[in-house]
């Protein structure tokens, strides 16, 4: 039996209210039949994906060593399955970023085998000698 699911589109800040007809695919999951309420193609894609395989990009920060900043912001290059988002966040806990890095540099290839890479979302430069000891070292 098809059912209609209602949720807000997260593809852009506009936040269209979507209605998606979903039907069991016979394999324990769901198939999306029709998407309504979307203002663009991204909404259609998101509406379908949300039924079949909901994913979210993961954004976080990494610990750094020898860098001008204490944290390096990072994100995944694509969606992580929603059910594994927390697991993916935990997988970053032990990582250390070392300068120099440029915004967009790949930090981890194929994170947890999920088919997405982890990339830097800012440059990371080495700590200037004069700055050593200037900042309290909370982490170390």
């Amino acid at each position: 039996m098809a059912e209609t699911r209602k949720f807000v589109c997260i593809a852009c800040p506009r936040g269209c209210p979507l209605e998606v007809d979903a039907e069991p695919d016979g394999k324990g999951g769901f198939a999306a039949l029709a998407v309504r309420g979307n203002a663009c193609r991204r909404g259609e894609d998101y509406g379908r994906a949300e039924i079949v395989d909901p994913r979210r990009s993961l954004t976080s920060t990494l610990r750094t060593e020898g860098a001008a900043e204490r944290r390096l912001p990072v994100r995944t290059t694509g969606g992580v399955p929603l059910g594994r988002l927390v697991e993916a966040a935990r997988a970053l806990d032990g990582l250390v970023a070392r300068p120099p890095l440029k915004c967009g540099d790949v930090i981890v290839n194929n994170l947890l085998g999920l088919g997405v890479d982890l990339v830097a979302t800012d440059d990371l430069s080495a700590a200037a000698a004069a700055d050593q000891g200037r900042k309290p070292a909370w982490n170390n």
């Binding site: 807000v8 997260i10 800040p13 990009s57 920060t61 912001p73 994100r75 909370w138």
Partner: protein, 450 residues
């Protein structure tokens, strides 16, 4: 004698508004200097590590630092001068110096002189023909919302929590209650959860959430974090550290409903209770502020009623998209460069036609349309209530007799919500030279049928 440096345009603030303003002014041929208080450029975007920035500008979902980086690279590529870790102490207007006065045109508004201080140069002055205020906004704090009880460690604003987690790498506690459903609060609910904190719930005094719908979904629903509407924190408990808060339901006027109080154990109270444009310098220059936006009144290029002072980004009004902050920065930067290039020649400024937002608007920016600036004018507005059934927007020029003289724009909206800012464009040429006002109207769809 205090050393003085001369520039065409000085931009205060190196966040998204200031960077876009500096870039646009530089591209227009101005000699620009950006003054930034912190140790690197990027403003608040440095700590906004979540994605969703740049969809309008770049057609991509960028993280905050990534969005800032695009502008920083452009600004550095043009070798725009930047003065980091520099604090502006005061700003004053100065008449053209005696030596230059003979050559100065009548009505020359003179220069702005900024008294600044930094580690390398000590106290120094900057002289500029035009000033761009891109100073962003401030969070409302626990002092600006009424909560009984103690103020132990563990009461912090959402922006401070964001700074601690994303810049310093520190987790502020173990179990948090979030007061206020603004976007930063929602984003921090997710961020703290992903970093291993427990977020007990988000409490909102109003009957509707303040943040974007998408953030309710991806920051709360995804993680099963409850949102309690018409509920607020009435008391904080704890001596050295927060131990609990008391929450209670409120009526439509925000009055606590007796008997609904409930004690919630937590060690952290995160406040996401609103942002206010930062306007200390604007006020010191005598700029008049709009009580609705809490920012200066400006024309479509961001020029305030004080000639040569331009305002953009969150200093003007609190935006929900960085993309629009950049857009307003560009407009201000370009206009500031043009102002500086006149070098004191009589103002080319046209008549300022007031923009009057009618019932149904929370606010509209700009507050004036300068007839002397040809081309399109971008208007931003917010409705003051959720209009789920849709609405019709109209912008009309009002003639000197008070009657509508021209329709500038009509537009239908499927729905309007106060947290979601809308952007429209009008053609300034359509505003009659003698217009008394530009009137903005908002009609509910139900009203249209009747």
């Amino acid at each position: 004698m205090i050393p003085r440096e001369r520039r065409d345009v000085v931009v205060l603030g190196g966040g998204p508004a200031g960077l876009a303003a500096a870039l646009a002014a530089s591209e227009s041929g101005s000699d620009v200097l950006v003054v930034e208080r912190e140790e690197r450029l990027g403003g608040i975007l440095k700590q906004c590590v979540h994605d969703g920035f740049g969809l309008v500008r770049f057609g991509e979902q960028l993280a905050g630092p990534e969005y800032a980086r695009r502008y920083i690279d452009l600004v550095e590529g043009r070798r725009v001068a930047v003065s980091l870790e520099t604090f502006v102490h005061s700003v004053r207007r100065e008449a053209p110096a005696a030596a230059r006065r003979a050559a100065a045109a009548d009505g020359d508004p003179g220069f702005f002189v900024l008294t600044c201080v930094n580690r390398d140069r000590g106290v120094f002055e900057l002289e500029a023909r035009a000033l761009v205020l891109a100073t962003g906004c401030r969070e409302r704090t626990d002092r600006q919302v009424f909560i009984h009880g103690d103020r132990p460690a563990g009461v912090l604003t959402a922006g401070l929590a964001q700074h601690l987690v994303n810049i310093e790498g520190l987790l502020p506690g173990r179990r948090a209650v979030i007061l206020g459903s603004g976007d930063i609060g929602l984003i921090m609910a997710r961020r703290l959860t992903l970093e291993g904190m427990e977020v007990e719930g988000v409490y909102e005094l109003k009957s509707e959430p303040s943040g974007l719908s998408r953030n309710l979904r991806q920051c709360l629903e995804d993680f099963g974090i409850p949102l309690h509407l018409s509920t607020t924190v009435v008391e904080v408990h704890g001596k050295r550290r927060v131990e609990a808060v008391t929450v209670a339901a409120v009526d439509q006027r925000g009055q606590v409903l007796p008997g609904t109080e409930r004690r919630v154990a937590c060690d952290t109270l995160v406040l996401s209770v609103g942002l206010i444009p930062e306007n200390e310098i604007a006020e010191s220059l005598g700029l008049s502020l709009d009580p609705a936006t809490k920012g200066p009144r400006v024309d479509q290029a961001g020029e305030s009623q004080a000639e040569g002072v331009f305002v953009c980004g969150n200093a003007l009004h609190v935006n929900d998209l960085a993309d629009y902050v950049s857009e307003s920065g560009e407009a201000a930067g370009r206009a500031a460069a043009a102002f500086a290039a006149r070098n004191g020649a009589p103002a080319a400024r046209g008549r300022l036609v007031p923009v009057k937002a009618g019932p149904g608007f929370l606010y509209a920016v700009p507050q004036f349309v300068d007839r002397g600036r040809p081309g399109k004018a971008v208007l931003y507005f917010r409705s003051n209530a959720t209009l789920r059934e849709g609405a019709r927007f109209a912008a009309r020029a009002i003639g000197p007799d008070g009657a509508p003289a021209a329709t500038l724009l009509e537009k239908r909206y499927a729905a309007l919500r106060p947290p979601e800012m809308e952007r429209v464009e009008i053609d300034v040429a359509l505003v009659p030279v003698d217009a008394a006002a530009v009137s903005l109207e908002l009609e509910r769809k139900e009203g249209l049928r009747g």
